[in-house]
Amino acid sequence: MFTTARAGFSDALNDFIGRHPNKPEQPVEFPHKTHYAKKIACTEYCHEAVVSGPVAGLPSVRTCMVCHNAIATDRPRIKQITAMRDRGEDFVWRRVFNYTPQAHVKFNHAPHIRAKVNCTTCHGPIHEGTVAQRNVDMNMGFCVNCHNERKAPVDCLTCHF
């Protein structure tokens, strides 16, 4: 349990008891489920870089305002975003999914999207909740199992380079 793959004692403890409390407070309580219900794909606006590069990207206030300039402008959270836009301020998103630096893992989203791996495979049922929460335990076994099942390469240098 005390391997270098964990950042600290609290991580090790949480891992040990199977708890995934990584639900940091975000600048805006973004309801993933509402947007999923409106049939907006993850890759369509907010995380569009996921199909082309290593990182998925997080939306800026500009992205929200593409639609919310006109849609649901009376809701308190949208008003909050509009006010931010007017001040010229952007979100300070807190990171939810990450590897510890000690793990020396490099992850690239794009090939996984090309291989038609569903977002929920790694990120869990985010589309059913509001703010993103780390509800899947991404350790090396998790990755390797899936790579074995799908006959993806399991060479060390696939991820550790």
Binding site: M1, G8, F9, S10, A12, L13, F16, I17, E48, A49, S52, G53, P54, V55, A56, G57, L58, S60, V61, R62, M84, R85, R87, G88, E89, D90, F91, V92
Partner: protein, 769 residues
Amino acid sequence: MDRRSFIKLTAVSGTTAALASCGNPEHQLIRFVPDEDIVPGQAVWKPSVCPLCPSACGLTVRVMGAEADVVRNGKAGVVQILAAKKLEGNPEHPVNHGGLCARGQAAIQVTYHPDRIAQPLKRTGNRGVGSYEAITWDAAIAEVVAKLNEIAASGKAGSLAFFGRSGSSYRNALIGEFLARFGAPAPMSYDLFGDDVLRRANAVSFGVAQLPTFDFAQSRYVLNFGSDFLGTWNAPVSQSRAYGDMRQGRRGVRGHFVHVDSRLSQTGASADEWVPIRPGTEGVLALGIAHVVIRDKVRPAVADRATAAIAGWKDGLPDYAPERVEEMTGVKANRVERLAREFAGGPSVLPQVRTQPGVAVIGGTALAHTNGLFNALAINALNALVGSVGVPGGLAFTPQLDILAAAKMTGRPTPAASLRQWAADALSSASSVQALLVDGVNPVFTAPRAWKLRDALAKVPFIVSFGSFLDETSVMADLILPDHSFLESFTGAVPESGSAMAVVSAAGPVMKPLHQTRATTDVLLDVGRQLEKPIELPWQTFEEMLTASFAALPAMTEGSDAWTDAQEKGGWWGEIPAAVRLKPDTASPVRLKADTTSVVSGLSRTQPEFDGDAAQYPFHFLPYPSNQFLDGSTAHLPWLQEMPDPLTSAMWSSWVEINPATAAKLGIAQGDVVDVTSAHGTVQTAAFLSPGIAPDVLAMPAGQGHTTFTRYASGRGANPVDLLAPVTEESTGAVAWAATRVKIARVGDGDGRLILFAGEFREHQEHGR
């Protein structure tokens, strides 16, 4: 839960509780909404043009999302921007073919320099002190407009002076047009290491006032007189690439390279043979070689035709017999004969090795003498004699775009005075100089001290600098209107050499401006519009000028236009339409003009003259453009300060090179502090013992010794320009920077001012064991 897990859990939870309280509170900066759409983690490569030397190499710039600190609405925060991260050579560009020199690699630091001037500044203290306050662009431009109105109203438009950059570029064309319409003389451009003497010689010899392009890739023999063509001279990236092809690019053929110079430069260190020569006698050696070629009919077919064409050579240059040449140059007579036979490549000389085509190169120190023109003409004639002009493996000239014609400019400014003349005028009591605009150049640092340029600037009532850094010239300015960096602005320049086909290097900005800067070209257009008697140029912005000018060129790809192509590829190259080709037509075969060497034989100034008495000042002084800093214009870039010099491995310092035998005689050891003195000044620096220098020559790299030029260059090293005599080459007025005599005296032990990367230089000692 079993017992073991329970114990683990107790231990872990206790420790965790204790440690949890020492976590870092998150520092949360305000994030601002970005101005552009950024795909995270994705790099885009955009073309640009290297601004650091006139060879105008094409760049490709890696641009990615980055975070920048900004202040908006009075609040500090961060914002995502698209930022240039790395410069590489543009693989498609005909000058550099994907190569980029170390200086070009470091050019990215121009944009992110911590001491870059970020907004307009107005002088508050005395001139030269460098105390400035920030003002708004509107106020700054209003001040310039008011001053220019005042000058125009007093009817003295000719008293506006401009220090511009050298080379042919759209920027210079726009500046020239602005000045012409205002009624002021053309911009003055001054380069200490400029090659005006060679341009002049080429105009006389070939009718083209331009630096040559060498086809080294197909040469078999290169005879180089003093030029540092692999390091700093002409188009070094293009030449280095071609040189690589000459040595290793052909199966079974390795071109031979002979270097003639009194110092073994970086280029000389690559040569097969180094011919040390008395400074300033390169032309004599060339004529000695020509003498042997004619006398022995080494290459009769070409030579006969050439001797007929070159006036005064029919009798075979009797004054330049090898024995005479030995007396004058110090190169042994039999060596002159051997070089002549090798260079002209007669079949009897090296039966198994062909040395044709061969080419002679002149540049750098060989031109920097009072007889520089003679040297250059002699080598031009030597090239003509062996038939290496305008042929594969020889020299040619890059066809040039006539920017003025392409931009349909009408104004023809009155020619500018030389910098020396201008300084003298400004200092005279009847001085009429009212205002001076400086476009990012630093002549105060590079002009001989005897010209008193700094004193002249002190007398000018109003100086505006467009520079990005507070250098020795900018610090004299009353107003500083900082330009964008090259990565933030539209650029367009015509490389003078380095390509067989015509090239225009041009590109749009690769990133948004980091600071409150404005493109100087746009500022001038703006000022022109606001004048009482407005200067109505046909374009609102510099971009419009480029768009309009490129309409004169044909598209490179079908269905496109030249400007779109240029922005995509980083330039335009191909066949220039006759209407906008610079005359004379440099595309046609280059031929020696008939009267050329009447000049050589009739030239009075065949012998170099040196400033300083040989008894009092026993050494020739040879400053040279530094590999890192050229004439000092890139000394503010820390990567280049950090870069070890290729021959000495010195970094962050300056030094004077001295022959070990001479040093031993004077009791000078490696790293000792020495005073080098000429009749015009003294510099104190460290001695570097180098076997690659003639015993009666001291060499010193230029570039260091800045008094004010950002935190990295200020107060570091010494400037050899402080020693230079104001001696010029007569016909061009170019500084003869190798014509000063000096003496050297040991001051004390080394004090750590010479920093060597590779420890001690032991080779010469080990050979003598």
